[in-house]
Amino acid sequence: MRELELYFGPQHLGMVGNFSITLQVEGDRIVKATANPGFLHRGFEKLMEQRTWIQNFPLVCRINVVEPDHMELMYAMAVEKLAGIEVPERAQFIRSIYLELARVGSHLFGLWAYANMLGFDTVANWAMYHRDLILDLFEELTGGRVYHIYLWPGGVRRDFPEGFEDRIRSTLHTIGSCVPDYDDTFFHNRLFYERAHEVGKLSLEEACRMGAVGQVLRATGMKKDIRKTEPYAAYDQVDWEIPVRTDGDAYSRIWVVRDEMIESVHMIFKLLDKLPKGEAYQRIPNPFKWKIPENEVYVRCESSRGELGLYLVSEGGDKPCRAHFRTPSYSHGLTILEKALENESIADVGNIMISLYITAPEIDR
């Protein structure tokens, strides 16, 4: 049969984000897929070298539009490690609660994208609405809905407002009460199973070899989570489980996302119960005179898409000398995507891509 080359994205309707894939197809079977990043390169890492330590805060969160919070965390943790700043215990708990809220929000956003892609618009709209409820919480806590600029080195930028803990609980109850509806309509829906089962399959060996992280890795049976292996913030203060599946296909990946959301909500309740009193911020040095001793650090965390890392170098000046983010979408979007698309049908490109949770801004930066 004749081989064709197709461009999937960035203008293609099925593409989410500024990303493109070149497909070599035979009939509707994909023979070879080549990822084309670069449409969203904004030069963040270079920009960071020209701004002072504090001025980078409003910048780093913009690297990833879907989930800015883990970017903030990475930068804050790296700066704290470089400058030797201690974070008060209460701030650690607030950070964990805040990051888990961000994870739930990000997963709901992902669920919207995925359900929308498969044509499950009802569930997609629910997910978008429930994400909005979480954005309301962020707005109250930080003053911004999407870009929060809330995690500072030394803690957090403001403490919880009066009665905020109860509002987190009630919002999560509202979302949680809809889980049976989500399950009936989507997760236990036979159509979802038919569309996602055995699609974009990845073996454990392949996932490990190609640097899969996050739920892509956990869907192949590997029980790995940075929050467990290298606990940061207050993740070692409460008990929680790592959800795992073994099939390695799109269906498993979305189920891991679902289970993770529920685990995160449970974790927030546990963290809220144990939230200590005290200061939420340890004052950082005067930003106009803030010089950080010469050193280099690498920090990592488990973002909602998997392991996120930051390599940050200081030359003893008032600005970083080099910053480099290691983002989960980088390996997912380039190597794994190409592998997962092989021998799949054209109709499943969006399905597989979103199940791998690829966000273009993370790849390009």
Binding site: I54, Q55, Y129, G143, D184, T185, R190, Y281, N286
Partner: protein, 619 residues
């Protein structure tokens, strides 16, 4: 796992639920209380320091001059202007704002055809009425930067989370019970770590530099201390102030009153940091590397080796003039030598500064009283110019009945510091509420502890002014109270009471009605019926000082012009109405402190240089 094709139809029940979508603009969603929307700025409290513009990561803020505002010490006439094409609403400007005048509101709508309107100078409801509306008059259809809601603060400054540190590094001091036993310097001074930590608080907004009469480059020398380069710091100080050891201890610190950190927190310890720089550098000569300029062949005589005289000598010497300084005291420093007690300003500190100026080749003639040991006319004849920095050297007296039994403040202070301390009483009354009175009282209490160890003694002060008007600095009052000096504010002396042998038994006082008249001039009035007798065996008058011009021959003195506040009138070059005679310090300015004398000296030194170079016409 049970998958179903029928169960998903349960979602049909949502068809009958209330829609979640808001029907904008008929249904509005109230932004959260911390919402980061458009700015407001309280122009009254905004100091125009420009920290917001400095920290803005997007260079969205520019400080623009507002012609209708007047710059004053601690406040410029600049205000931030925000370009909403660049602003990312991160709120860094809010967290760095020292007065907390800049705030973000919950307004976030601006719709306009003209892109210029997105460049915006934020004001507030008070400064810009007619643009802010209560919620019942507000319409979202008109929402813009000129149609906003009243009382709609969102993200505002919180001192606990501010990016600047409102708290000073505490200065170690000798505790009161220990320090009153001797004349030991009670401010211990910062060590290296403390000084660097304190210097790191400086935001470098330079409001202080405008407020300093001598315009020292404060931000620069503080920055050098932060960088652990005290020599660099001292070099910067010496550009404008040649007596850092003295000023680092007794400066009136006009700068600290203007410090932007002082608005809601504690001002930067600028004075103590200057002292740190001066005390840390052991060898001024090698650190400063200053040399007199090429000789001009011109000679200048300076009368009085106080801050003004020392400074004018230093500046002129650096310009290559031959300078001779005459002073009646046995050492340099003038009033600084005799006035400020040793626990605040030890003689060694004064001598360090004077010795350095001397090492530059300035000739000093101590124990030489002009008018007696050397004549003013002769100085005028022998030199190309003369600088008068004679200061206020005579104490004023209350002139109440038996006043001649009292001691005078300046003589008491001078005897205690550089002469033989007088025998003090057990119950001392000090008349006056200024810094000199408190210096006298605090010296007296130390002398009592030395002369009557273990015995019951007391020092009281009587002042016309009440607590809130007392001219002494807050710091001085606090330290005096720590040392258990008794205060009797709002009482005026009526009569010094003596017994038959002529010994003082106490002071008869009257209650003060008011100290100043409606024009704000000093004109005390008293309640004639409220009197009090205060027991005491020694009374010291510390109610002010007057200058002594007796060294100037009468013919010349008559040519001198004075202002209505009885100050010598000088022109913009510091020259008096007598040609070739320049003046500065207490006899010229009304601030009457060391740093203002230095400022005068700078003007006079430049004036003398210009005059002797023939650039100005003689008066």
């Amino acid at each position: 796992m049970s998958q179903s094709v029928l169960k998903p139809f349960k979602a049909i029940k949502y068809l009958f639920a209330t829609p979640k979508t808001l029907r904008y603009p008929f249904e509005l969603k109230e932004p959260a209380l911390r919402y980061r929307g458009f700015h407001v700025n309280d122009w009254e409290t905004c100091t125009g320091c420009g920290n917001c513009a400095d920290i803005c990561p997007n260079q969205a803020i520019e400080m623009i001059e507002i012609p209708e505002l007047v710059s004053e010490p601690g406040k410029t006439n600049k205000r931030p202007r925000i370009d909403y094409g660049r602003c990312c609403f991160c709120g860094l400007c809010i967290d760095i704002c020292p007065p907390g005048s800049l705030k973000l509101t919950r307004d976030y709508f601006h719709i306009h055809f003209d892109p210029e309107t997105f460049v915006f100078v934020p004001k507030d409801e008070q400064t810009e009425p007619g643009k802010y509306f209560p919620s019942d008059e507000y319409s979202v259809l008109k929402a813009s930067l000129s149609h906003r809601r009243k009382d709609y603060d969102g993200f505002v400054s919180d001192l606990k989370y501010s990016l600047f540190d409102p708290e000073r590094v505490p200065m170690p001091v000798v505790p009161p019970e220990e320090r009153i036993l001797s004349f030991i310097e009670h401010i211990i001074g910062y060590d290296r770590e403390e000084a660097r930590k304190e210097a790191a608080r400086c935001l470098e907004c330079r409001l202080c530099e405008e407020a300093c009469p001598a315009h020292l480059k404060i931000s620069d020398y503080i920055h050098a201390i932060f960088e652990d380069k005290p020599e660099e710091s001292l070099k910067k100080i010496y550009e404008d102030n040649p007596i850092p050891s003295i000023c680092g201890r007794v400066c009136m610190a006009h700068c600290e009153k203007a410090c932007s950190l002082s608005i809601r927190g504690e001002a930067l310890s600028i004075r103590w940091l200057k002292r740190y720089a001066a005390d840390t550098v052991k060898d001024f000569k090698t650190a400063l590397e200053l040399h007199p300029g090429p000789p001009t062949g011109k000679k200048v005589a300076v009368i009085g080796a106080g801050p003004g005289g020392l400074s004018v000598a230093y500046f002129l010497r650096l310009n290559g003039y031959e300078v001779k300084v005459y002073d009646a005291l046995p050492g340099g420093g003038g009033t600084m030598r005799t006035g400020p007690p040793a626990y605040r300003l030890p003689l060694e500190s004064i001598d360090r500064d004077v010795d350095y100026i001397c090492s530059l080749g300035v000739e000093f003639f101590f124990n030489t009283r002009v008018g007696k040991d050397v004549l003013f006319e002769d100085l005028l004849k022998e030199n190309d110019a003369v600088f008068l920095g004679t200061g206020y050297t005579r104490s004023r007296s209350t002139q109440v009945k038996n006043y001649e039994k009292c001691e005078l403040a300046l003589a008491f202070l001078a005897d205690t510091k550089i002469g033989k301390p007088s025998k003090v009483g057990r119950e001392i009354i000090v008349i006056g509420g200024g810094n000199v009175a408190l210096d006298v009282a605090r010296e007296a209490i130390r002398l009592q502890h030395i002369q009557y160890p273990g015995e019951k003694t007391v020092v009281k002060t009587v002042s016309l002014e009440d607590w809130d008007e007392m001219p002494a600095t807050e710091e001085e009052i606090r330290e005096a109270r720590e040392e258990h000096i008794q205060f009797h504010p709002a009482w005026g002396p009526k009569e010094v009471v003596v017994d038959e042998s002529g010994k003082i038994t106490g002071l008869q006082c009257r209650k003060v009605k008011s100290v100043f008249n409606e024009q704000g001039r000093f004109a005390p009035t008293f309640h004639e019926d409220k009197e009090m007798f205060m027991e005491g065996d020694m009374i010291i008058e510390a109610i002010g000082q007057v200058p002594d011009f007796s060294f100037i021959p009468e013919a010349l003195f008559n040519k001198l012009e004075f202002t209505e506040r009885k100050k010598l009138r000088v022109d913009e070059n510091g020259m008096t109405s007598i040609s070739r005679v320049f003046a500065g310090g207490d006899i010229v300015n009304t601030n009457m402190d060391a740093v203002t004398a230095i400022a005068d000296a700078k003007i006079a030194a430049q004036g003398i240089s210009r005059y002797l170079a023939g650039e100005t016409v003689s008066a």
